[in-house]
Amino acid sequence: MTLIYPVASNGVHPARLSPAYRSAIKRAPQKPLIPMRHTLSELTGPVYGHETVRANDNDLTIQAKGEPLGERIIVHGHVLDEDGRGVPNTLVELWQANACGRYIHVVDQHPAPLDPNFTGAGRTQSDASGYYKFVTIKPGAYPWGNHHNAWRPAHIHFSVFGHSFVSRLVTQMYFPGDPLFPFDPIFNSVTDAKARARMISSFDLDNTQPEWALCYRFDIVLRGRNATPMETK
């Protein structure tokens, strides 16, 4: 199967210059991007060995001596291509704030406590069907300096590769029903409501573990579709 990567699929992404997000103003190109035909350089991408992911790298609650504080959650789903096929054996990385909304990054000086038992980084590889799973802690909302009383909705950062270098995606997973959605310029940089909804995980009662952890489902759809689809007209 040969995959193609129509540029039109990129239309759901935010405009690079979304002025409500102040940091974008000096970091977005002002000249038009140059369209080009994909070559083998664009149509291929990295493959990882099993050495890239260690056992338990997908469980952020057992990386330290003790258990992290906060609401334990399961986050799982499939990495899919544009035809809905699972993307097998692809690397999924995540990083996030702790339950108090604080990152361990040295630049984050939000006066909320760090958790000595929580780093907030994880990675896994999707299985043969594209399925992935993490166990972590629900991150807290946190303030930032973009505008007066600015708060980021709780989110988990995801980094995914897919079948080629042009299917590469870095995104953020949000939680359903967050009251901060209307006020967040990063979330709203995606202007199509249906596309925004694809960044919001869904509560998954069926896979919630009794007496242990709530579960959220987050499917990630990457660029790439069959070059010769079987279509019925």
Partner: protein, 198 residues
């Protein structure tokens, strides 16, 4: 698992200011690095080179919280991906690297000069490395290409030919002493790097 065709792809969001401990810890955080900015393995054949430079914003200020990723062929022009089905021998060269910028906006990759890869019409492309740029303030990463100023093939390269002549220099790394090339990235401004809509 959904067997339905999705409505569309998942939108991009910024990598943000705090990715370092998860994506490029480089010994400063407890987490380990999945990738390195050194692509060389003991058995890697080809001309060993370093590509280095700085990343700048629209004011010319350096960007200390940027992540760069590269993807390239090996010295014979083969990609380390089963989707490259040409009959070329395997090598252990992976072709992928990741580097966070430092306090002065600097980055460096230790790699090899890539070989020649065909373009969409099967004609040879000049040796090049794909570069993806991620940072706080960037809601969607940018793609550019690193070419080399000592390659005669640049003149016939079908992608460089798409670029207005007065902007091509932004895509061409300059060779310094030794095997070190300089390639600076300008996200905006008079020297704005050419980025591709791929």
């Amino acid at each position: 698992m959904s067997n339905q065709r999705p409505d569309g792809i998942t939108p991009s969001q910024t990598v943000g200011p705090y990715f370092k401990y998860g994506l490029t810890p480089n010994g400063e955080y407890e987490w380990n690095d999945a990738f390195s900015n050194n692509l060389l393995t003991p058995d890697t054949s080809g001309e060993r080179i370093r590509v280095e430079g700085k990343v700048h914003d629209g004011d010319g200020a350096v960007i200390p919280d940027c992540m760069l990723e590269i993807w390239q062929a090996d010295a014979q022009g083969r990609f380390s991906d089963p989707q490259d089905q040409r009959a070329l021998p395997n090598s252990s060269f992976k072709g992928f690297g990741r580097c966070g910028t430092d306090k002065s906006g600097g980055y460096a990759f230790d790699t090899i000069k890539p070989g020649v890869v065909p373009d969409a019409d099967g004609k040879p492309q000049a040796p090049h490395i794909l570069l993806a740029v991620f940072a706080r303030g960037m809601l969607l990463h940018l793609y550019t290409r690193i070419y080399f100023d000592d390659e005669a093939g640049n003149a016939a390269d079908s992608t460089l030919a798409l670029v207005p002549a007065d902007r091509r220099a932004t895509l061409i790394a300059k060779r310094n002493a030794g095997n070190v090339y300089t390639f600076d990235v300008h996200l905006q401004g008079d020297n704005e790097t050419v980025f591709f809509d791929v």
